[in-house]
């Protein structure tokens, strides 16, 4: 039997299966949340059932012992289970302002890639992990209203299968069947890209809105506060629960940090542009005399990035 105990903040849960065939897929869901503690307050399991009458296999999902879903398609079953668990985790963590965003960290500062599912966040996250960035999430970022800190929401990446063609080495590393979700996206364990991939909670510094434009030469276009806020608000998951305080959290983010629209037609250019942001930051630190410790503290904010000007 496979069983994994998981913890994110104070929420503990377990996922399990008796079915050997389902183990690799289940093991891929939340690899970084694994804990040795055996306490949990919610339990999900998935089993394979064979019907002698029809001669067909069914994959059955259970939540706290009760049947919640059954299907004959294994990808659908795992997909449903992940959706159910993720929804519950987000409910448990509703004290955070939750945003559809990937979060990558370099030099102690977070870059948020804000956009709807399918906007290329996960593919860019893989590219930046390859460059040594650490990761908060490929899909949901948790913002603490009081401090503005971005907290991790760790799960396996879901990468577009077309984008995965750019990383054939990870297909080889990922043993067993290539587990896809029902939309054909591939679940990828980020530790295959970077062994020590998990980032600590970090203050954001850059907010990027990816916009895939085939054939575009690639640019980071500075965004005004109003447009950046509007885009952030459209990707907020639980803003209604937070009301004015949630709005103020987003306003604070767009006021304090550099916001750009990333117009690009390919991952390589996008990665170079984003890497350029950290180089600008390092130069600023050097110019302001902060060559070690402490991180960057205002004052020397770069004004030009990839030819654009951020006012």
């Amino acid at each position: 039997m496979f069983r994994r105990y998981c913890q994110i903040h104070s929420f503990r849960f377990s996922i399990s299966t008796h079915c050997k065939q389902l183990e690799p897929g289940l093991a891929l869901l939340y690899p970084a949340l694994s804990t040795t503690s055996r306490k949990y307050c919610a339990e999900w399991s998935i089993e394979s059932k064979y019907s002698g009458k029809t001669g067909a296999h069914a994959y059955v999902c259970y939540e706290n012992g009760g049947l919640i879903y059954d299907t004959q398609i294994v990808d659908d079953a795992l997909d449903y289970l992940e959706w159910r668990i993720t929804t519950r985790i987000l409910q448990e963590l509703s004290h955070f302002v939750q945003i559809h965003a990937a979060g990558l960290v370099s030099g102690g500062k977070a870059l948020l890639l804000v956009g709807p599912p399918g906007s290329g966040k996960s593919s860019l996250a893989v590219c930046l992990l390859r460059q040594g960035w650490k990761c908060l999430s490929d899909e949901v970022i948790l913002i603490d209203s009081a401090s503005g800190t971005a907290w991790p929401f760790l799960r396996s990446f879901r990468v577009d299968s077309k984008a995965m063609e750019a990383f054939p080495e990870f297909f080889v590393k990922q043993s067993g069947p290539a587990y896809c979700d029902s939309k054909g996206k591939i679940r990828l364990d980020p530790s295959l890209v970077l062994r020590d991939w998990v980032a600590q909670p970090s203050q954001p510094r850059w907010i990027i809105f990816p916009g895939y434009q085939p054939g575009h030469r690639g640019e980071l276009e500075p965004l005004g506060e109003t447009e950046a806020f509007h885009l952030m608000m459209s990707q907020a998951i639980n803003l209604a629960e937070h009301g004015k305080r949630g709005m103020d959290t987003l306003i604070s983010l767009v006021r304090r940090f550099q916001c750009f629209r990333l117009n690009t037609g390919d991952l390589h250019t996008a990665t170079s542009l984003l890497e350029g942001l950290t180089e600008q930051m390092q130069k600023s630190i050097y110019r302001s005399g902060q060559t070690s410790g402490g991180g960057f503290i205002g004052g020397g904010v770069p004004t030009t990035v990839a030819g654009g000007r951020h006012e």
Partner: protein, 93 residues
């Protein structure tokens, strides 16, 4: 009906946060937020119930150098949006 002689007034209970190039309005009753670009927020700032849209148009046209009729048309369109979204005091139009 919004017309050039209308003297709309903004709802005082709306919470406004100014940004460098616009503002955010938060309607606590409906739990809805609105982002206004710099032009819309400028128009918003005039709506005190005392000044007519025609007077606002004349003032903005003299500052921007644009044609008064064009400015008035934009103002009426913007204020209509405010009214349709319940952002103005009832009966003040």
């Amino acid at each position: 009906m919004i017309s050039k002689s209308s003297r709309p007034m903004i709802r005082e209970d709306l919470q406004q946060s100014d940004l460098k190039d616009g503002c955010v309005l938060y309607d606590q009753i409906r739990e809805k937020a609105y982002t206004l670009n710099i032009t819309a927020s400028l128009i918003w700032s005039y709506l005190d119930g005392a000044i007519s849209l025609e007077e606002i148009a004349r003032e903005l046209a003299s500052v921007s150098g644009c044609d008064t009729d064009t400015v008035l048309r934009d103002i009426v369109e913007t204020v209509t949006f405010f009214r349709e979204n319940g952002l103005l005091e009832q009966g003040a139009v």
